[in-house]
Amino acid sequence: MLKISNLHASVEDKAILRGINLEVKAGEVHAIMGPNGSGKSTLASVIAGKEEYEVTEGEILLNDENIDELAAEERAHKGIFLSFQYPVEIPGVSVTNFMKTAINETRKAKNLPDMPANEMLKMIREKSELLEIDRKFLSRSINEGFSGGEKKRNEIFQMAMLEPKLAILDETDSGLDIDALRIVANGVNKLKSKDNAVIVITHYQRLLDYIVPDFVHVLYNGRIVKSGGKELAHELEEKGYDWIKEEINA
């Protein structure tokens, strides 16, 4: 589904990603871990198409198509979803209307008519129940005055509504208490299928107890320096990242 080869990216001429290779197949869950500043969020933003980042070398293929020239919305239409580490507040735009616009614009891009209102409402009801979201919450401005947990739940709610092929969860566990973490993970797990894939970016192992990865990669200094199975996450949790840094620097 996703194939990244030798990806280099920089922001304002500062190289951040220095040769990433990663292949994610349908049905897989990959975890990307690593110390602060290693380039995890940059990788997520580059895949999602943030314009501030310039790809200087290498390529990203989504289902064998190079997506380098595609705008963020076109990538979204092709099924890429990024759950933000810091979801943005948009005063004046309600969650419901935002979702309606996002879904219908995605359908428009696929030459489909707008989703009928009753179908939309039904879907909103189902997905909000899945994420245990109060209906009142949906008429509020997106992320405005939301608690950390509400913001992350709202991200996964949007993921549930948009049904992406490839979901990238950037530090979705940060700011979550244990109950919210369980709800969010449960939501992600219910949405998982053999046809889609998930990349979980996290600093800590605890989310991976709930969303169990097939592969774990360690990102350090803009490169994937170690890959393994889920046991690698436990090892990192126990020993921290220093031993990896030492290994690399040695």
């Binding site: 919305e73 979803f81 943005v88 004046g92 309600s94 891009a109």
Partner: protein, 437 residues
């Protein structure tokens, strides 16, 4: 001949044509003298520093259209709020269009300025109210000198007027260039409530300059909601001079929606002559190309315990320019005044500009007055967030701009007006999305 000379020369012909014996004759004569002395305002005057009239005064405007033109309702239906029942006072090239209008004398007067000025039964009201709060500046004086036609609305006490009143001025391009001087007088007596919508619409690309004056009197506990829809084509210019005199406990709100026109200048003046008065002035401006919109507001707090709320949002694209000049004057006696003013602007293009100037003159010592103005760009992180969810750039921008204006729209009390404004905004921004936020 310069426009000024042409207007002064036309005045004599105009006065001969209307009733010289009318009590307003002296008022008109005095006004034309005022205009003659002052001339058109120039950029040397502080209040006109950022708005030059030069480009719109160069046309050879007809002052009186020579032919009458007619338009069919179906051709102009879209310029009306037509999905609800309303009174309508409609003019074509400055002349009353009875076939498009729906006036009334049933308990309230919704009719013509010309009849109010000429008929004896209105004489007392005209003597008490006509030109009593209109300023003596040059443009208002020019309008006063030529005042003859417009809307006359009198709501006697204890009336809740169920149907909104639409005042619509069409210009047809019958003349190569046309100058219009509509004059409205609105008197709302004790405990009454009225809603008014005003619109100026040119139906061709010929240059039109409208210099309109509206006097509004809200007597004790009266409520007036006034909406100005300014979405004319880009050859039409509008100078709007509105004066509102409020008596105690009255509530007046005025929303200005400025999307069209070549040059739009709103001179909006609120005078609070009583206690516990509430005044609201709100506006949304969304312009592009070389359009220019200037809001020049004054709220004069004269007596204690009154409030004023100003909230103006502006979005400027291309090479458009905006001006906000908001003056709040609090007299020494006007203790316990609450006066709020906000002016927030987004510049969408590098070539667009806004000059914003809050002006607070406070002589009382126990008041709450605040003002804030901001100038910024669209939030890039919000843009990426929306686009990453599949909302294309143009639609994302539009949604952000709409959300930015939403504070002003949310206080519009007539849903059909809100829908209409929403539709105009979507068209203006070139998107086809519903903004039911």
């Amino acid at each position: 001949m310069e426009l000024k000379e042409k207007l002064i020369a036309s005045f004599m012909a105009f006065e001969n044509q209307v009733d010289i014996d009318s009590p307003v004759h002296d008022v008109r004569s005095e006004a034309i003298k005022q205009f003659e002395t002052q001339g058109f305002p120039s950029k040397k005057e502080e209040a006109w520093k950022y708005t030059s009239l030069n480009s719109i005064l160069k046309h050879d405007y007809s002052v009186f259209p020579k032919h009458e033109n007619t338009v069919e309702y179906n051709d102009v239906k879209k310029f009306f709020i037509h999905d609800i029942d309303t009174y309508k006072i409609v003019f074509i090239d400055g002349k009353y269009a009875s076939h498009l209008s729906q006036t009334t004398h049933d308990g309230i007067d919704v009719c013509l300025m010309s009849s109010a000025l000429n008929k004896p039964k209105y004489r007392i009201l005209i003597e008490n109210y006509f030109n009593k709060i209109a300023a003596k500046d040059s443009l208002t004086s020019l309008n006063t000198a030529f005042s003859q036609e417009g809307a006359y609305i009198h709501i006697p006490k204890n009336k809740l007027v169920a149907k909104p009143i639409q005042i619509v001025h069409f210009s047809t391009g019958n003349e190569s260039a046309l100058m219009l001087q509509p004059r409205n007088l609105i008197v709302v007596d004790e405990n009454s409530h009225v809603q008014i919508i005003e619109r100026h619409q040119s139906l061709t690309d010929n240059p039109v300059l409208t210099n309109t004056v509206t006097e509004i009197y809200t007597n004790k506990r009266a409520i007036v909601d006034y909406y100005k829809i300014q979405n004319d084509n880009e050859n039409a210019s509008l100078i709007d001079n509105t004066f509102i005199n409020q008596k105690q406990e009255s509530v007046a709100s005025l929303h200005t929606f400025s999307f069209g026109g070549k040059l739009t200048r709103n001179n909006l003046n609120f005078y609070q002559n009583g206690e516990r008065i509430d005044s609201t002035l709100k506006g949304v401006t969304i312009i592009g190309n070389k359009q220019h919109v200037d809001h020049n507001t004054l709220v004069h707090h004269i007596e204690p315990n009154c409030e004023s709320h100003q909230d103006y949002k502006g979005i400027f694209g291309d090479s458009s320019t905006g001006v906000f000049n908001g003056k709040v004057l609090v007299n020494k006696e006007a203790q316990k005044t609450n006066a709020f003013q906000a002016n927030n602007n987004i510049l969408v293009s590098d070539k667009a500009s806004i000059n914003t100037k809050p002006q607070l003159e406070i002589f009382a010592d126990d008041v709450k007055c605040s003002h804030g103005c901001t100038i910024g760009q669209l939030d890039e992180s919000a843009m990426f967030y929306m686009r990453s969810r599949g909302i294309p750039e143009k639609e994302a921008k539009a949604l952000l701009m709409y959300a930015f204006s939403n504070n002003v729209l949310s206080s519009v009390k007539i849903p059909e007006i809100k829908q209409r404004i929403t539709k105009i905004i979507a068209t203006k921004l070139g998107v086809n999305i519903g903004f039911d936020l």
